[in-house]
């Protein structure tokens, strides 16, 4: 679906943000791109919808090189939800806000109405249909921004740091939402440095540092590898840290989930007795 071939990118200011990225993202995947601030995560995903064009190398989305099409054309397939919803919201009502992209893409009025209804319902903001988006709370604005992107049903959804400022329950709802999107065969790419969130979702993880990919694999392999984690300047999930302190007791070191942890401990204790 998305193929990144030896991608290099240098900003006009001269900063080389990406140094040879090669990556393939299949349809229906759930991918987390992790690393500290400045590793190049957001720079990388901005190539997926053409906001940035490679300095060297190529990015191919659905068989088409991103250099050959406009951002608007790519956006039709690749939805990008920015970190701060306030960077998008500008309409007088939530309804207009959600319809904005649909109008840009040339949907006809009937289709627009149906999709707006569907998106508002999906994100549980139908009751705010006629409200001004500026009157809503932070969490509600985030949902409206997400609805406005999902409205046109892109095949790929990119979420840039969706967990910032969110409380535990909001993150849980987000996690379930992503599972739902995946179930609908959508590709979901999450850019994040929230290790606990990734531990709970257990997606495929791409770990970045200094503009390069330092590791790729399942969350439970990457987040539990102390060397990699230190290299990318992130911290392992708490459950992993707990188990990493007990290597001498023969416990597996790739645990990231609390229920998995319980199962292992129960097995160990049962086995001992």
């Amino acid at each position: 679906m998305i193929e990144v071939k030896d991608l290099y990118f240098t900003y006009p200011t001269g900063v080389e943000a990406l140094k040879g990225i090669t990556l393939t993202i299949d349809d229906g995947e759930f991918l987390a791109i992790m690393g500290q601030n400045g590793a190049g995560k957001t720079t990388l995903v901005k190539h997926f919808n053409g906001l940035l064009k490679s300095t060297k190398g190529e990015v191919v989305v659905d068989g088409v090189s991103t250099r050959e099409v406009s951002v608007a054309q790519l956006a039709r397939k690749v939805g990008f939800v920015f970190q701060n919803p306030d960077h998008q919201l500008f309409c007088e009502t939530v309804e207009e806000e959600v319809a904005f992209a649909l109008r840009n893409f040339g949907f006809e009025e009937n289709a627009i109405k149906k999709r707006v209804d569907w998106a508002l319902n999906l994100l549980d903001v139908t009751q705010y249909r006629q409200t001004s988006p500026f009157m809503l709370s932070g969490g509600e604005r985030k949902r409206v921004a997400l609805a406005s992107v999902l409205a046109w049903d892109p095949q790929v959804v990119i979420l840039d740091e969706p967990t910032i400022g969110q409380d535990h329950q909001q993150k849980e709802k987000l996690r379930q939402f992503i599972v739902q999107l995946n179930a609908q065969k959508k590709t979901v790419v999450v850019v994040t440095h929230d290790v606990e969130f990734v531990a709970e979702c257990n997606p495929r993880v791409v770990l970045m540092s200094g503009g390069k990919i330092v590791a790729e694999g399942l969350a439970e392999e990457i987040l539990t590898n102390q060397k990699l984690v230190a290299q990318a300047s992130i911290v392992p999930p708490q459950i992993t840290q707990i188990f990493l302190g007990l290597p001498d007791l023969g416990l597996p070191t790739n645990v990231i989930d609390v229920h998995e942890a319980r199962r292992i401990l129960l097995d160990l204790l049962e086995g001992a007795s």
């Binding site: 406009s70 951002v71 992209a101």
Partner: protein, 264 residues
């Protein structure tokens, strides 16, 4: 957003940068007054060269050339205006005289000297230095604060504008397409988030200011103080001399026109 590049002040330090902004401003005013005094080309040409050593010592040649290039358009307009109108008013239908040409060139050069002087001032004075000079010149603190805060946030707003454009482009907004009217309307989704963001930002700034004792004292103290150095006194003295000399020449010395000089 290259027009904002000038505000990302490079931390260059030279003797000129370290001069007290108040003294530099005085020097610029003297240049200004001198340029206004003379309508003849010869002194204005000399005056044009006066700030150049400052530009070179400060190492801001490239930026200086860029700002002069920007002023060139207006310079041409002024020249044409002056030349054409004066010609039709006084010399028509005769052939335009050399002195008319010289006078129009002089007017243009006067404009360029003014642009040049202020450009040198702003290119060699960092915004915080300028803010400090304003504070010490007893400009009310609210204005100084507004000035430095505005300068501080220009790069932030520029980045935010870029992010907003990206976010809206990612929703299918096409900024390059359409007729003039449509293009202007397409900027609404950029402007509104920018303005709303600026208002939100001001609120947060106000909270932070209050929380750090804004308004606690009638008279604020200052971490820094601008002290006049020897080089400052030198420039101030030089400027006064220049002013006296200019006034003297203007009053007593008949200035030859360039044509006369060239014939000699």
């Amino acid at each position: 957003m290259s027009m904002f590049e000038g505000f990302r002040f490079r931390r260059v330090s030279s003797v000129i940068h370290r001069l007290d902004p108040r003294v530099k401003f005085f020097f610029v005013c003297v240049l200004f007054v001198t340029a206004i005094l003379f309508s003849k080309l010869t002194p204005l040409i000399l005056l044009f060269f006066v700030p150049l050593p400052f530009v070179l010592v400060a190492g801001v040649q490239r930026e200086w050339i860029r700002s002069m290039r920007g002023a060139l358009f207006f310079a041409v307009v002024i020249f044409l205006f002056n030349f054409v109108f004066t010609y039709f008013y006084t010399q028509y239908p005769q052939f335009p005289s050399a002195s008319l040409l010289e006078r129009s060139l002089a007017m243009t050069l006067r404009f360029l000297v003014l642009v040049e002087s202020f450009s040198v001032f702003f290119l060699t004075t960092s915004p915080d230095h300028l803010g400090l000079a304003l504070e010490q010149s007893h400009v009310p603190y609210e204005f100084c604060f507004a000035f430095t805060t505005a300068v501080r946030f220009v790069p932030v707003l520029a980045d935010e504008a870029q992010t907003i454009m990206d976010a809206q482009k990612a929703r299918g907004l096409e900024l390059e397409r359409g007729n003039f009217l449509k293009r202007v309307r397409n900027y609404i989704p950029i402007l509104i988030p920018l303005i709303v963001g600026a208002i939100r930002r001001s609120l947060e700034l106000a909270e932070a200011m209050e929380s750090r004792a804004w308004g606690a004292s009638e008279k604020r103290t200052n971490l820094y103080v601008l002290k006049l150095k020897n080089t400052d006194y030198l420039l101030a003295f030089g400027s006064v001399l220049m002013l006296i000399f200019a006034v003297y020449v203007w009053l007593y010395v008949p200035v030859p026109s360039l044509i006369t000089l060239l014939r000699l």
